[in-house]
Symmetry: C4
């Protein structure tokens, strides 16, 4: 089977990946209701397309925080790419660059950030977890700046790790040879097998800082010149607070349904957040994006761009950098098709009237 | 099994048609959500029937653009009838005439339009795709007029072809001996196997004009004396624009769920369009009509008549012209029954109060 | 299996009845959407029960048109009881009397009405179809009066017979020895096998009068001293008209989902009809009643009593008069239990607040 | 399989318990619609979590009627624990104490209340059924006081026993050696096999008092110094009445879907009751709690704590006191996790904004 959509890639990846990896990538928290709901939210929204607009030339390009990208899709930060493919984050960086978009590199990378940025042919943003060890955290920020990352994306929905039961049953841990490379200097790089639990949950509980508050966002702003993006928000009041504390961007996200089960679907909360933020920051959205029309809906409801996570991993698993690039390119072609069929020659033409009265 | 409803015909046709043809006819775009939603929309609307009305004589007749028809159902334009039956569009024309209604002949006919109109015993309307080659387009219009077609139906929801994934996997193309006959003079008649794609998608991308705008509707009006109907509208503002640019009729349609997946169900958007157009043009609707009660609902919500596409093809596949005629006649009998049970002796009695408080 | 609810009886009856009979009894019109919807409507309504009411003595008795009955459930008129059991309508009459309620005898009885009334130990109402042959109709009315029927129930939702496709495929007809006994004097008693159709549909088309109007209700009132009940109404305006033309009762009914498919569920339209009729006639409801709580909901929404059709036939099939009586008694015990648990010691205590805010 | 959530425990218990016991514990009334609806109500409510709150220290403690408990979960009163495990109610009492919460002991205990309270290491409340034999009832109250129970929980939704059909088919009864120990002095302790019915339904019909009214709540208050909690309310007006008659607490409950089928889901009616009671009594809720997030939702909508019934029985069945304690501890860990992920370091921080705009 030649894969022709993102679901095909998942099916192919399912045949190639070991159970522990697959369980880690696919699972959501607890009963996986938010995981499912993220996806179903797109199916409940109809696209009221326009006709007789000249769509002979479509332009999927846009900018995020001033950076031009080829399509309104970024590579979401996800952990441990070398579980999916030996080339790991290097492959992802190459794929993102080739596809003309930004890779958001996870703190929990299985490759050093410097190597990833060096291999990248496009912009890299750095996703940050704040460690209890604040010096280790400061070091991460300084290295990201030095390496040339162009923004910091602070994850705020994971003071502890949400329980993904499939992962607990699998006793997920990193196999020998893989580790959280960015923290190896600080001695915080091993994700070992835990007793009756996910090794990652133990890692997070032990090392990440659950006491983080809005004041820490100010601290972070004080130690970096990079623009800050806050990721993991589902409430208008939190989005407003993020902006007040200096965030240039907000990612409406529930961590792909992996943290708090029964958190609302991201698309469902986007409109109220769009209204609350009122253009004072750029909004992004992730969770369940699988189709070009999903992207159109997110943009019509106020997102500047979306982030795609798991599908990149399926692409990696199937064919390394080529597979990951094909995922982005498939989305680009689907977005292009949807723009043509919606009567939107440009991203700017994707307006709220497309999704309802 | 003697077929007693339209679903029976589909089941019978499924046994007779080759996979490539079946895939082409049955499929919708992408995840086929609109395909399903078109149909489900009828199931969500209840008919609040009237009692103790004299329905001893029911009259299913009406007119569309002044032309009398035996029932408020037209044959929708669909492509390539000779895939369904060797008699192809000739059989359909005979069936429509016998059943007392209008056939809308597709540009993508496997038979020359002149032959179809010659074989027809009832009115024929011509569905028009605008080619990049405008002289070829003008020629189509002139030939349609000369042949005796009584209206032009301009399809506006297909600036490019929506991806029907089943068709892509099938590498759909026309077998030897079949071609887009109406374009053979212009050398635009072949639908060849494409690499990793539907041959038809390639044909459309290469040859049809995605730059079409409302101005082209004016151009079209300027080169023909035939009344214009615009097909493929799901928004009230577009319907109003169509009327402003001279359309005498508007077909509320999402191309049978084959173009933009997650476009709204046609029945769901009909009421707002009815209100917007306010009687200044005749409204038609297609997509998922399978029961007499579906027709009643469309009329109660403002449609003058409906178009039926795929079921005609099932009729052709099962029994050529006889099968196609039986499809229309089955619908006529179901409409007649529904009118009797709704307390509507005439089409004019099918009023909005039937579908809700 | 000892049957402990009405569904059990249906399962048992299914094993005993021939396919043609079962198809006739179980089927609904067309896609059976109304059949299903009638039932689902009860599941969508919650009962907000009251506590700490003295329910040590419950009284399920009420009156309908002044006649006392042991529970707010009547036997709905259904055709051809001898298909279910050799004792046919005689068994039903005995069961209704034993259970303390009214039997509504169908025109399409397989037993002469005089014999049924003679066998009955409780009140009998006569359900009337108006024949094209008005003298035959007048004779039915006069015989019903003479036999001692206490009300006439005019069915108004069947100007023609709705198509039940299972019945058409079965070519339903009455076997030798069974006929519409009440019409044997008029020579209108045979329900023969029809070509490609239900024999009953042919019978109805040929013999019943689809020209009936409200004026005929006046005519009917003029030829009888019996109170009139109009059965088959789903619209408030029709209910008001019925009252204006002298109806003492209105049965909110869609003929058990057997006439117009996609007619609304009866429970769904009851509240608006209750409001429109405003106590000027007694309201009844049928369609899908299987549980004591269904009856409570109908009463809370304005019905005086409900009619139960198919389950009586399952009772007959399983055990003749005893089975039919057990059906009513099962319902009585379920109503009694539901009244206790709702804090309603009497039928009068079943008020609208039970079904919502 | 190591059980990691409450559903796992149910699956394990299912393998160990005999059918009659399992049927008794699992079943709901009639079609079990309320049983299912109780659970589904939690799935329809989304948790709009807060971010960047310091949740490094979470505190799941609260108080109910002034009594401190380790988490906002009480052990619901359920009957016949020795059916689940030989240690029966003694094991439950030990488990509740170990987990830091209150056990509500059922009147229908298979162990004498004095023995249960003696074995308990935490507070015990006594659930009361009022017997027709009022002296037996008075004796229960006096013994509960004397034994040291700290509150009385009067069940008001069971004037008769709702029919659980699975239980009727099983002819549920207590096996030799087990009885309603608290009533052995009054000779009311045997739950014998009944003819064609649940033995418990017969027991209840014969012995419990269906004539109970609000006046009896006054009587009860007059004979005890213990605080009264009324259990089984789904209506705001009844909750207000309970408070007016001296109840210090109200349990919003439909008896786990075991009494009136189609009673509303408890979570659905909680908000209106919260509003009506306006802080004048403490509100509790039971029915379908299986996840920590369920507890958060109940608290956000106004409950002070929830009661958990069936899962305790699964815990007992799997591993006696240890299993039951593990059930509570699993819930505590899930509540702790949900509080962290919701940005709620304390129970007081669980406010209505978490469940909607």
């Amino acid at each position: 089977m030649e894969p022709i959509n993102l679901f095909d890639f998942e099916r192919l990846a399912q045949k190639r990946l070991p159970d522990m990896t697959l369980g880690y990538y696919q699972s959501g928290a607890r009963d996986e209701l938010t995981l499912r709901s993220n996806r179903e939210a797109y199916e409940r929204v109809a696209l009221h397309y326009r006709v007789l607009v000249d769509v002979s030339r479509r332009d999927t390009r846009t900018t995020v925080l001033g950076t031009p990208i080829a399509l309104p899709v970024l590579v979401a930060p996800t952990a441990f790419h070398r579980l999916a493919h030996p080339d790991g984050e290097l492959a992802t960086a190459r794929a993102a660059g080739r596809a003309g978009t930004i890779m958001i590199l996870s703190t929990l990378s299985t490759t050093d950030m410097e190597a990833v940025v060096a291999a990248a042919t496009g912009p890299v943003w750095f996703q940050l977890y704040v460690y209890k060890d604040r010096e280790a955290t400061r070091s991460l920020v300084q290295r990201a700046e030095a390496a040339g990352c162009e923004a910091l994306v602070l994850t705020v929905d994971a003071p502890i790790l949400g329980t993904r039961e499939r992962v607990v049953r699998n006793r997920f841990h990193l196999p020998p040879g893989l580790s959280v490379r960015n923290l190896s200097g600080a001695g915080l790089d091993e994700v070992r097998e835990a007793k009756l639990d996910s090794g990652l949950a133990a890692y997070v509980a032990e090392r990440l800082d659950p006491s983080l508050t809005w004041a820490d966002l100010d601290w972070l702003a004080s130690i970096t010149r990079l623009p800050l993006v806050v990721k993991g928000i589902v409430r208008p009041d939190d989005a407003v607070r993020a902006v007040a504390h200096g965030a240039r961007g907000v990612v409406v996200s529930n961590h792909g349904g992996r943290q708090l089960d029964t958190a609302p679907a991201t698309l469902d909360v986007l409109p109220a957040i769009t209204e609350a933020v009122a253009g004072e920051a750029e909004l992004f959205l992730d969770g369940g994006i699988r189709r070009g029309t999903d992207v159109i809906k997110a943009l019509a409801l106020g997102a500047r761009a979306v982030l795609v996570g798991r599908p990149i991993l399926w692409g990696l698993a199937v064919d390394g950098a080529d597979g990951a690039a094909e995922i982005i390119d498939l989305l680009r072609r689907e977005i292009d098709e949807a723009m043509a069929l919606c009567g939107c020659p440009t991203v700017a033409a994707i307006t709220p009237d497309l999704v309802g009265r």
